[in-house]
Symmetry: C2
Subunit: 322 residues, 2 copies
């Protein structure tokens, strides 16, 4: 499934990024190579590196530099995915066994570390000290977001503000940063950088809300992991929070909140409640509001093909998961 149908030239850039990533990650240990190749071959849409390049188009970009930076951000993202799967004890990612599932937590820990350090090495050779600092701050926020999510499992007092703060840290920040550093390294004007950073943040919020929606309503094969896996792990996302806010449904959903070892009939019932209460619908609306903001940011940017490509990305998100 391709994200860009109109701006297909982006795929040439993504191929270059992939080649760069493969080349940068060659390790002397076979198991590291296998784990990395498995992850690269599993797909993934390379949205973050694509954003780095698209943001760079708004300025005077140096292609070689941007590709290295884009690759570094994707490698960091891969590292967080691998470590994230350890926390979540995930068996599947993008429909394939996770690194921890196939090679064990131990190899997963150091594969992630290896990727982090490769990514840092790439950025130290590429970008300004200021942008390196932004990048470090982003990875720090992701760590804090992940720890927060883990610590709040089975928390009966989740609320919207807490949820939004968490997804802002764990997801939106890396999209936001991708746009920001791409634009900044291409020496865009401050105002352009600001709009792009905001676009990235709002897109990331919509992206994560959509991801959380699909945990309830998606096609299991497309999502690549069992339905309601977040809920089963005690991670209560936006559709659940909305359902709990509706007094005619909260009493029905409450018995499942905080409950471990859910069985199939529980899962079905939870899915039904979250849907019937309008929790999914309201979540979708919030995602659309973030996408409206994305549109506002794009409207403030110069009218160049990269802007249309970013808009196409939004339109695809509205229609389907990727």
């Amino acid at each position: 499934m391709r994200v860009w149908k109109k701006h297909v030239d982006i795929y040439e850039d993504i191929d270059k990024i992939d080649a760069f990533i493969r080349n940068s990650l060659k390790a002397s240990q076979q198991v590291l190579n296998d784990a990395i190749n498995d992850l690269l071959n599993a797909g993934g849409k390379r949205l973050r590196p694509a954003m780095v390049l698209l943001a760079g188009r708004f300025g005077r970009y140096n292609e070689e530099k941007l590709i290295s930076l884009a690759a570094a951000i994707e490698i960091m993202h891969m590292a967080t995915l691998i470590h994230d799967d350890i926390i979540d004890q995930s068996e599947l990612r993008r429909g394939r066994p996770t690194v921890r599932n196939r090679w064990g937590n131990e190899i997963a820990v150091f594969t992630g570390d290896y990727l982090f350090t490769r990514a840092f090495d790439l950025v130290t050779q590429t970008i300004s000290q200021k942008n390196m600092h932004h990048l470090s701050q982003a990875i720090k926020a992701i760590c804090v977001g992940e720890v927060d999510q883990f610590e709040s499992r089975y928390d009966k007092n989740m609320y919207i503000g807490k949820y939004l703060k968490r997804i802002s840290r764990k997801t939106a920040i890396l999209f936001s940063l991708s746009c920001q550093v791409g634009a900044s390294e291409a020496r865009c004007r401050q105002e352009v950088i600001r709009h792009l950073r905001k676009f990235g943040h709002d897109f990331g919020m919509a992206f994560q809300i959509t991801d959380d929606l699909l945990d309830f309503s998606g096609n299991q094969d497309e999502v690549g992991k069992p339905l309601c896996s977040d809920f089963a792990e005690g991670v209560y996302t936006l559709p659940v929070i909305y359902t709990m806010l509706d007094s005619s449904y909260s009493s029905k959903l409450e018995p499942y909140i905080g409950k471990k070892d859910l069985i199939d009939s529980d899962i079905n019932q939870i899915g039904k409640l979250v849907d019937e209460s309008g929790g999914l619908e309201r979540s979708k609306k919030l995602a659309l509001r973030y996408l409206d903001r994305c549109n506002d940011s794009l409207a403030a940017l110069p009218n160049i093909p990269a802007r249309d490509a970013l808009r196409e990305l939004m339109e695809e998100l509205i229609q389907r998961r990727y």
Copy 2:
């Protein structure tokens, strides 16, 4: 137990580094703070950051800069310890429960990541791009060394060259790097940097060999973990390799090589064989040879108090574990 008895002024610097580390690592998540404080309070001799400062004394150093760099290297070391304990499934470190033991693998993964990213953030604000690259390469080597050690567990074909390569990656490189970047950031002459880097490497080799010796012969309380834990985990270190090279002992030790679930009487027998064969003695000799090389490196350096402090460090290593 103090390392420096003559150069006690080093402890003032170490206190400054500790204060800097505590200040840099304050997190918004309580569990992160607890895990980090636990690790800091557990002791550790801060050998690597001390080496950064001592190496800096050979040049025109900026104390503030060196303390920040020394703290970053110690934080990276802490991160590798936490992740290392996940790989080794260790329950104890320095005689106290490990992060993974107390908070679980999940928190341990992200506490380590948090530390890595804080350390990188510190160094990006402090040191030259060239030294950042060296630092990335060192952390990469540590990851590869750890994966290699994990992958070679229960390997019946360990040999000295493989062992030395592994400990060079997993331990010596960070000592070597500490000396190198401390000296380099203090703008020492190339020759001085080279001698200090070599000192760090050889000291690190002696340090790890001594550590591996103490797994067999140490006082369990001082070492802070059960005896023969490496062997029990399938990690065959130098004393074992030497014992296997002695035909009159190899046949007796062989039944235990590759064996899992060793019982107490096995452990006693292994300890006895490794000792009687001279495996411990030969390992100690090799450690001393590395320390001789350290002496050669020191002899080539200017005669300043920092040189004596490095020599005191070696002398302490000869006499005991720290």
